[in-house]
């Protein structure tokens, strides 16, 4: 049963992928090159740049941060970093439409600074409360 399910899924998956390629059959060379570049760029940028930086930050944090702050800092960083990626387009200052102020009309950078500060405060408060919990657990 498992074998049959997996085989069926494989066939469906490959068929979908081939259909996607078929939809590009009339793309020009320039469009295909650009598509290929954008297809590969994300994976390379992640594996060669972003992921090693995150690993390095983790190592540095483990050596420098007080123990009780480490877990809250890691989770706050997770939230901050992934949200910063999500909001990168609106923070970039790019995009928009000339003469149209109904798009991209919010103070995104200010919101991002506030978000960053809030996450720092949350991480520190969580770290301090954690110490209290840990020390009261030790006393009892």
């Amino acid at each position: 049963m498992m074998r049959a399910t997996r085989a069926l899924l494989l066939v469906i998956g490959v068929a979908c992928g081939l259909w996607g390629l078929w939809l590009m059959r009339d793309f020009t060379g320039e469009q295909l090159r650009s598509t290929g570049l954008w297809l590969i760029a994300g994976a390379i940028l992640h594996d060669a740049v972003v992921a090693p930086i995150v690993v390095a930050l983790g190592v540095v944090a483990a050596r420098t941060l007080p123990g009780r702050l480490r877990a809250p800092a890691a989770i706050a960083f997770l939230v901050w970093a992934t949200l910063t990626v999500v909001f990168f387009p609106v923070l970039s200052g790019e995009g928009g439409k000339p003469g149209n102020d109904t798009i991209l009309g919010r103070p995104y950078v200010a919101s991002w600074i506030v978000m960053t500060l809030v996450l720092i405060v949350v991480a520190v408060v969580a770290g301090l409360r954690r110490r209290r919990r840990v020390s009261s657990a030790r006393e009892s």
Partner: protein, 398 residues
């Protein structure tokens, strides 16, 4: 001095076991991956649905009801794509050490490994492609040479295909991981150096999962106000704040569409064509016809939407002027001289519905130039790009 050998270089490449964090683990990967898979499937289904609006085969029952359907499907498309970003990043983080697994011995095993890694590269590449191109498209930033809509559609099929292949390959692991407690280690997990195993200060797997879901939820809350009215004040990172002249955002301005001169021309007449019959009506004549008011949304493919009160003349009432039947198919043509979608096709199901109108007023005021003065199309359950503005001609084609 001798040159470094392959073995020397290999010694400096980390092994999966070198990554200390106990938060990484198959049970976390499977949970985040399941959420990500659900988000991608929602994106895919709603995306294919959106694609069908552009190129509608006869078997698709496209019509004006439910009025808010496209608003929901496209809102959901952008919301689930936004929610997917933190999920994808954490999913990749959780399996990053596996990138350093050494190739297996034996030709057959090598081929299998290469195929699996190849399929994962396609999956990751396509996932980044879809999320990046989508997020940039909704702010109107196009730093590429391909057509967004066609390529986003093609890569969607590649992404969903690679996802299904990935699920097929990993199905036994996924089953084991989802039935195990999140704190359990599975045989697929790397063996970390022993002192890390009991590090009490490191974040737990459970905390990472919670943090990921919080990030994903915040990403939605802080952007979805462009389509969910209740969140309008909360969504400080939304591309649209829902405001605009006459309480409605604008996608294309009259200047951007090259429609200013024609739209302002006092000699404007609307042409209604059926076969060899053509009649012209000016705006005063339109205003003298039976006016109807309906509350209908503009639901943009870019994921923002907002309802408004539209007042104008039903398209079917206009067709009656040339004795065309109410179940006609109609092409609506704009005065715009620049940009795509200068005309749109109205299927008979829309034409029959009297809520499909040429609007003359918006929220109780005369339609402003950027909203499509002198008259614009508004119909229920229809992507914003087909709500043709600055209409100059209705032509019955079938």
């Amino acid at each position: 001095m001798r040159l470094p050998t392959v073995a020397d270089i290999e010694r400096h490449i980390p092994h999966p076991d070198d990554f200390g964090s106990r938060a990484r683990g198959t049970t976390l990967t499977a949970r985040v991956g399941t959420a990500l898979g659900i988000a991608f499937v929602i994106c895919f289904v709603t995306g294919v649905w959106s694609g069908l609006q552009y190129d509608t085969p006869g078997w698709v029952p496209l019509g004006p009801d439910p009025t808010q359907l496209y608003r929901w499907t496209q809102g959901l498309h952008i919301v689930s794509g936004t929610a997917a970003v933190p999920l994808l990043l954490v999913k990749l983080w959780s399996v990053f050490p596996r990138l350093f697994i050494r190739p297996p011995q034996g030709a057959r095993a090598l081929v299998v490994e290469a195929l699996e890694r190849g399929s994962i590269l396609v999956l990751v590449g396509a996932a980044f492609f879809q999320l990046t191109s989508g997020l940039l498209n909704i702010i109107g930033w196009y730093p590429w040479e391909f057509s967004f809509r066609r390529t986003h559609e093609a890569v969607a099929w590649i992404l969903i295909g690679a996802l299904v292949v990935h699920i097929a390959v990993k199905l036994p692991v996924i089953r084991d991981a989802l039935t195990a407690s999140i704190d359990d280690d599975l045989p697929t997990d790397a063996e970390p150096a022993d002192d890390d195993a009991t590090d009490p200060d490191a974040p737990t797997r459970r905390a990472v999962l919670r943090g990921t879901l919080v990030a994903s939820g915040l990403a939605v809350l802080l952007t979805a106000g462009q389509t969910v009215p209740l969140l309008r004040r909360v969504s400080v990172f939304g591309v649209r704040d829902g405001e605009g002249p006459q309480d409605l955002p604008i996608n294309r301005t009259a200047a951007g569409a090259g429609a200013v001169d024609a739209a302002r021309d006092p000699a404007f007449v609307l042409e209604i064509v059926a076969g060899d019959r053509t009649i012209s009506v000016d705006r005063d004549q339109l205003l003298a016809m039976r006016q109807r008011t309906h509350r209908l949304p503009i639901a943009c493919v870019e994921g923002w939407s907002r309802s408004a009160d539209w007042t104008g003349v039903s398209v079917r009432d206009l067709l009656a002027l040339v004795d065309a039947p109410a179940d006609s198919e109609v092409v609506v043509t704009s005065m715009q001289t620049k940009g795509a979608f200068a005309s749109s096709r109205l299927l008979p199901s829309y034409v029959q519905d009297h809520r499909t109108m040429l609007a003359l007023q918006l929220n109780g005021e005369t339609l402003s130039l950027d909203h499509g003065y002198p008259c614009r199309l508004i119909a229920p359950n229809r992507p914003g790009v087909f709500q043709t503005k600055w209409v100059r001609r209705l032509e019955v084609i079938a």
